[in-house]
């Protein structure tokens, strides 16, 4: 199953969203692509969409990093480029379908409307491997790409402390989902379906890796896994909290996020202190015990 996820990663890299997705950074300490499976609590089945009007009326898709629609009027060059044409058209359809998601949900109906908008027959929806999941995954990749662009362009992030940086990045990323918040529970349940879990897990792993890298991570070995797991936990819980947040501008969600990040960093300090304490105690105990046994044995 990681092979399919890895293939997807490579195909995304090669087809490259028209060359925009120029970096897919994954830096696990040992192997190149494969990340050990940890169960993410990213999704819970919430069948009823939370009735909440999106607070952010911004258009969800920023033109500069969204996959540009490039209809190829040029004649068939060779079979190699023909495969790209299909990928181009597929991206266009998915992109157009996103605008229908708010009304129609993450469903085939949205995909069919998107195909019609682009001028293609809705039959093309049948050629997508896991239809609604393809739309959700496209959106996740799109958001990740926008996040990467934002990280690259925003110099002020470098001046923040790690905890602030992480907070800010998660907030930026979740704000991209804000327009779709009313249908996001459906998207989460789609991602939770067993057939879709490998891809959604992979996407979240990439996201978490990206955030840690931007926050200045130099860890290796077990720390790398621990950090990403913790961050994934923070991200997921905040995401789910956001689903039921009715405060203006999602204020409560950001407060929740800051509290969680603080907890995580505090926990790290606490663990370190506990380690020191344990070492000191065991050293002291060891001496006391030695002395005691010595006395006992000498008798």
């Amino acid at each position: 199953m990681y092979r399919t996820a890895a293939k997807r990663l490579f195909s995304a890299a090669t087809h490259s969203y028209h060359g925009n997705l120029h970096r897919l950074r994954l830096r696990p300490p040992h192997s190149q692509i494969f990340i050990p499976y940890r169960s993410f609590s990213t999704s819970e089945d919430q069948p009823f969409p939370i009735p909440q009007s999106p607070v952010h009326p911004e258009t969800p898709l920023v033109p500069d990093s969204a996959p540009s629609s490039s209809p190829s009027p040029s004649p068939d060059e060779d079979p190699r480029t023909r495969g790209d044409k299909y990928q181009d058209e597929k991206s266009r359809v998915l992109h157009a379908s996103l605008t229908h998601v708010i009304k129609l949900g993450w469903t085939e109906a949205a995909l069919i409307s998107g195909a019609k908008d682009v001028g293609l027959s809705p039959s093309i929806v049948g050629s997508l491997p896991r239809k609604e999941a393809a739309l959700v995954e496209f959106f996740m990749d799109d958001c990740l790409q926008k996040l990467i662009d934002r990280i690259d362009s925003d110099e002020s992030l470098k001046t923040l402390t790690p905890s602030e940086c992480i907070s800010k990045l998660i907030r930026i990323r979740l704000e991209m989902q804000a327009p779709y918040i009313s249908t996001w529970p459906q998207a989460l349940s789609i991602q939770a379906q067993p057939v879709n879990v490998p891809t959604s897990f992979k996407q979240r792993a990439m996201l978490v890796d990206e955030i840690w890298h931007a926050a200045g991570d130099n860890a290796s070995d077990i720390d790398w896994y621990a950090k990403r797991t913790v961050l994934a936990g923070i991200y997921s819980t905040t995401e789910i909290y956001m689903l039921t947040d009715t405060s203006p501008d999602f204020r409560d969600t950001w407060a929740f996020l800051d509290a969680r990040v603080k907890d995580a960093f505090d926990l790290k300090k606490t663990i370190q202190e506990a380690q020191h304490l344990a070492e000191a105690v065991s050293a002291g105990l060891g001496n006391t015990f030695q002395g005691f046994m010595g006395k006992v044995l000498r008798r």
Partner: protein, 289 residues
Amino acid sequence: MALRTVTRKLGNKFFPLLSSTSHLHSHATSFGFKEVKEEEKAAMVGNVFSNVASNYDLMNDLMSAGLHRLWKDRLVSKLNPFPGMKHLDVAGGTGDVAFRILERINRVKQRGIQRDFEDILEAETKIYVCDINPNMLNVGKQRALQKGFAEDGSLVWVEGNAESLGFQNDSMDGYTIAFGIRNVTHIEKVLSEAHRVLKRGGRFLCLELSHVGIPVFKELYDLYSFSVIPSMGEMVAGDRESYQYLVESIRRFPTQEKFASMIADAGFQKVEYENLVGGVVAVHSGVKI
């Protein structure tokens, strides 16, 4: 099994068309394991069909042990039909695939589409069933009446030749050919006609008996094909020859990979195939971009 086809009856109105093509190329083609002239093949296939039409469905069930229903279900589910689509089923004489598509579309409608979506669907669903053999079409029309599909006019029965369809360019959302492409004289022509009539984004799907590669299973399958099927044909339909032709024509058909490359050459993209029952049947699909 399925002698889905574009067949030509002896002395019918297409005969002038036959003779005109014979001026262009008088090559040999295969009729099972025999080599015959191209113009003769159509006539011979025509004979085969007129012979099998009446016992067609029964023989299908016997030869495939009822599996052909599942194969056609798989074809339709891959097609993923939607309400308002214009679909062309070629060599679909008795209507199996067309009925399944209609049933599926009606089921989707019943599940209740949101109001907004229905506004978008002003177009009416139309399934065109095209076959070159009127006998097969008649059987299909009868079955449609029995199933109750005849009322709303979404099924249109057309007599026509897969190598030169009477439909306009870019007019169809979907094109299926189930167990028919093996019998045509020029596969490339059928593929390019399919490419012509499909809209951009339209899909081509082909269900066909194909080649088995698995070692032991292959031998069993060959044994079954060459021993059991012609005898079954003799006993049930009284026609050994037609079923001998059938199993031989399966062997002469291009392999899955070769056929996929032919589909790609016709201009389709995202060409892939899925083997069912280890390669006994394969579903090839492609998208017109």
